[in-house]
Every structure is written in C-alpha cells, then in structure tokens.
C-alpha cells in the first residue's frame, strides 16, 4: 500500500479499488469508474479555479489602471465573480436569426473544452498528473488548435460581418503564431529528449529558461498571442470590429468565451512554468508531492502576472505589424534557435562529454547555451534596429499646405471662417 504523503493518487486509487472490489464490483468496471472519476475531478477543479482567476486578474488590472478593481462584494471584492456568475446564468440567451446553428452552438463549448483538454496531461506534482502520456506535449498543441477552430466556427456561424472579420483575423493571426510557438516548444523537448511533460520536468536539473532564454521569450510572446488577448486581441478588437467573434453571443454562451480566455491564459502560463521554469520542482518535493502543486502555482502565477502586465501595458498591434513580427522575426528566429541549440549542444557533448562528470558537463552546457543565446539576442535586436521601418504608414499624400495671407475660400461665401491647416498632416 503506498503512503498517502509520498504518493497521494496511488494511495487513493488503491484504497478505492479495494473498497469497490470489496463491494463486489467487477475489476474492469472499477478501472473505468476510477478513470471517469479522475476525468471529472480535474476539469471541474480547473473550471472552479477560473472564478478565482477572474477576480485576480480584474483586481490586478484595476491596480494597473489606477483603480481599485472589484471591492464591494465580500472582503477585497473576492465574491464579485460569484455575483457575476449569478447574473450571467439568468441572462437571456439570444440566438439571432440566420445563424448556422451547429457551429454557432459548438463554438463556446470548444473554447472551454479545448483548454480543459490540456489539463489532462499537465504534471501538477511528482505523482499527481492526469495521465503520464508519452506524447503529452503534442496533445497540448492539438488542444490549442481545437480552441482556434472554436473561434473560427464562432466567426463563420454567427451570420454577422463583424464576426466574420474576426474569424478571418483568427485564421491569419492565431494560426500564424502557432508556428513559432510549436518550434519554441521543440527546444525544451529536445533538451529533455522527450515529449512527456513529466519527463521534461524531471530532466530540468537546470531550468530550461537558463539554457534557452530566447525560446522562452518567443514562447511567452506567442502564448499571449495564442490566447488572443491584448496586445494581440485583433480578433475581438472592440474599437474596430465591435468585439469580433463574440458579437452575436449573449448570456452564458458569451460567458463561456470569457471563461475560456481566462483559463487559456492561465493554462498557457502553467505550460510555460512546466517547460521552462522547472514545473513542480523545488525542495522536499520527493517526500511530500503535495508541496509540488504549491511550487507550480507560485511559478504559474509569476508568469501569469507578467502576461497581465503585458496585457495592461501595451496598445493593440495592427494586423500588418503582427504578421511581420510573426513571420519575419519570431518564425525565423525560433527555427534558428533550434539549429543553434542543437548544433552547439551536440558538438559540446561530443567534444568534451567524455572528459567531464555529468554535473560539470551540465554546467558547461548551460553556460555555453546561455552565452550563445545572449549573442543571438544581441544580433537580432541590432538587426531590428537597423531595419526599423517608420512607425507611421503613410496611406495618402500630404494635403496642400495653406499659404499664409491667401484665402482658400471661394468668393461666394466669405462668412465661413477659415480653418487653420496643419502642414504635412497625414492620415494613417
């Protein structure tokens, strides 16, 4: 019988199995029902966790904008989300005429369900993981793609031009940003030599952010873009396309998009913590796996805090700026990082691997990769400075400049006051 403190899930599984078999349940049924129990508990906890996340983000966001944030319902406004939930559950769900019912109704479900899928392989602690899947990283990527499908379905199904424009942007942007994201994920997989998330964490004797800081930066930027939040929220730009894909959704269907967005941002932060910050690792994790969850949450909230700073601090990008950033900087850079990391690391191991013990080799590899990353980062920033384009794109030519003293008014209506014209004004 495993000890509860060293293997809580194993302990509970054995205890429940013994209990159910004692009741005379067939072993196959026991196996199935335990899987089902695990599959219900984990996503339910994630969904309930969103209640806290929304409060946390609104509070922080308020502080960043010099407001107090929610502060009326309960201490520090902590029950605000419950009040909002009560409201949104009883709001009328309007289905506009002419919508394509299947994609329209499936889209909010996919938006949440796809994010929840990623939790099935996320290692929360040493033995606490939904399923220790050998291709866990691929499953996370596939689940992310599902979420984008949901956004596209919402755009197409809504029978609204704004929603369709949002859907188009989703195709061009969310999909494009998946490329550098997936390639940046290759580097931790490569350094750990596995696609299994638990093994990736277990192999991080040195957190991979030290061995691949550029890949970590790329992953951070692209995960913000992937969740379609500011500054990459072109798919739901309120001031341009009036909330884009969620324009025709109301009541809890809109609420599901909202939940999906927050949960996605948090899950992506957790993935960052798992891939680059050593996940659940910390002192005493082997003895008390439950501490690992605390370490993981601390690291995740650290990353999440930065993504909220990102969201609060930067203005929205234009579509051409976003595509340029993706295809001309992030995608080539991420591929170059895979090349450089693979070559430098392998050459170092082949040349000096035999002469050093494993600890020294790890230190040498880390220092070497850190130095190479620094050089690449410096070169890229220099290249960006050299090739920088004028920030304002001139669409129309300059208007004719008014000559002082010469009236431009027609002689028929001299009463109209003359407007001063700004020289060289262009419309962007």
């Amino acid at each position: 019988m495993p000890n509860f403190w060293t293997d809580p899930i194993g302990f509970l599984t054995q205890w429940l199995t013994a209990l159910l078999i004692g009741w005379g349940v067939a072993p196959e049924v026991v196996n199935f029902s335990l899987s089902l129990l695990g599959a219900i508990v984990l996503p339910l906890m994630a969904m309930l966790f969103v209640i806290f996340l929304i409060w946390y983000e609104r509070k922080l966001y308020g502080r960043m904008q010099d407001r107090l944030g929610p502060n009326r319902v309960g201490p520090w406004g902590i029950f605000q989300t419950f009040a909002d939930m009560g409201k949104i559950f009883t709001k009328e769900v309007i289905t506009p005429t002419g919508v394509d019912l299947v994609p329209y109704n499936l889209a909010p479900i996919l938006a949440v369900g796809s994010v929840l899928m990623a939790w099935s392989v996320m290692p929360l602690s040493v033995n606490i993981v939904g399923v220790n899947l050998s291709v866990g990283l691929l499953l996370v990527i596939a689940a992310g793609g599902f979420g984008e499908l949901g956004i596209m379905m919402a755009g197409w199904g809504s029978n609204n031009k704004y929603a369709l424009l949002g859907g188009f942007r989703a195709v061009a942007l969310l999909i494009s940003y998946e490329i550098p994201m997936v390639i940046a994920m290759l580097i931790p997989a490569m350094l750990a030599g596995s696609l299994n998330l638990t093994e990736i964490v277990a192999n991080q004797d040195v957190p991979f952010i030290l061995m691949a800081p550029v890949a970590a930066l790329i992953f951070f930027i692209t995960q913000v873009a992937e969740t379609a939040r500011a500054p990459f929220d072109l798919t739901e730009a309120e001031s341009e396309i009036v909330a884009g894909v969620n324009i025709e959704y109301s009541g809890l269907k809109f609420g599901m998009f909202y939940v999906g967005e927050f949960l996605h941002a948090f899950t992506a932060s957790m993935l960052f913590a798992t891939l680059f910050l050593g996940g659940y690792r910390g002192p005493f994790v082997e003895q008390f796996p439950l501490i690992g969850i605390v370490y993981l949450l601390i690291k995740t909230f650290f990353v999440y805090f930065f993504s909220i700073l990102f969201r609060g601090g930067l203005p929205r990008f234009r579509i051409d700026q976003m595509l340029n950033l993706n295809w001309k900087i992030l995608a080539p850079l991420s591929l170059a990082m895979v090349f450089i990391t693979a070559l430098v690391d392998k050459t170092a191991v082949q040349l000096i691997g035999g002469q050093l013990d494993s600890t020294m080799l790890l230190v040498v590899r880390t220092v070497l990769l850190l130095a190479v990353n620094g050089v690449v980062f410096w070169v890229v920033t220099r290249l960006m400075e050299i090739n920088i384009k004028p920030a304002r794109r001139v669409v129309s030519g300059a208007r004719p400049v008014a000559t002082p003293g010469v009236s431009q008014q027609s002689p028929e209506d001299p009463q109209v006051p003359q407007e001063p014209q700004v020289p060289g004004e262009v419309s962007a």
Binding site: I109, N132, N160, Y162, L186, M256, N324, V338, A342, L343
Partner: protein, 118 residues
C-alpha cells in the same frame, strides 16, 4: 497504455460536457422572450445589406497555406527532438538539413511578397 487513452477519451467527453451542461442549465434558468428586432443581426443599428458571409481577401488564404507547410514540418521535427539525446552529431545535422529545405520555402514566400500585408 490503453488505460491512458481511455482516460484521455473520458477526459475529452467530460471537458466538452462541462461547458455544455453549464449552457444547458443557463438556458433553463434564463428568460426567453425573443422578438424579431432583438433577434436581428447586430450591425451598429443599421440593417444588414446583402449576404453576411462576404468574400475574403486572398491574403488570408496565403497565410493559411504557409502555415500548413510549417505545421507539417513541426510535426516531423518532434520525433527528431524526442530522440535527440540518442542521436549523433551527424543525425542532428541530417534533421537540420530537412528543416533547411523548408526554410527555403519561407525565404521563397518572403521574396515573392506573400508575407506582406497590403
């Protein structure tokens, strides 16, 4: 191994059912008073002209195509990354040559101006 995929399958069903159940409960609780005006397509107060599913710029299509190439490439690179620790330097270089061919594709698309948003 089969247990793993059983769990994933159950998890998928539950993950889709949870938001579905929430929406179902909300649709029971919420009032339903549809009117033709309320159900009309939102377009900032004016009536929609013509078809909602309008034509789109070919540019979106081009980006989707370029994406496809790279996504397939990434899928092929993942096994290479997973086996990285057992590979010799020669095999690593082989994998990189495969990626280089596809980078040629990116350079071609770039030079063709497919990556410009006009």
């Amino acid at each position: 191994m089969l247990d793993h995929w059983l769990y994933i399958g159950l998890f998928f069903v539950v993950a889709m059912l949870l938001p579905g159940a929430a929406i179902f409960i909300a649709s029971i609780l919420a009032p339903k008073k549809p009117t033709p005006l309320k159900n009309s397509t939102y377009e900032c107060g004016i009536e929609t002209v013509g078809e909602s599913r309008i034509q789109f710029r070919a540019q979106y299509y081009i980006f989707a195509l370029v994406f496809l190439v790279f996504d397939v490439e990434a899928v092929f690179l993942f096994p290479w990354a997973a086996a990285y620790n057992q590979l010799t330097l020669f095999m690593v270089v082989e994998g990189l040559i495969f990626a280089l061919i596809l980078i040629g594709g990116l350079v071609y698309a770039w030079k063709k101006g497919a990556l410009e948003w006009k």
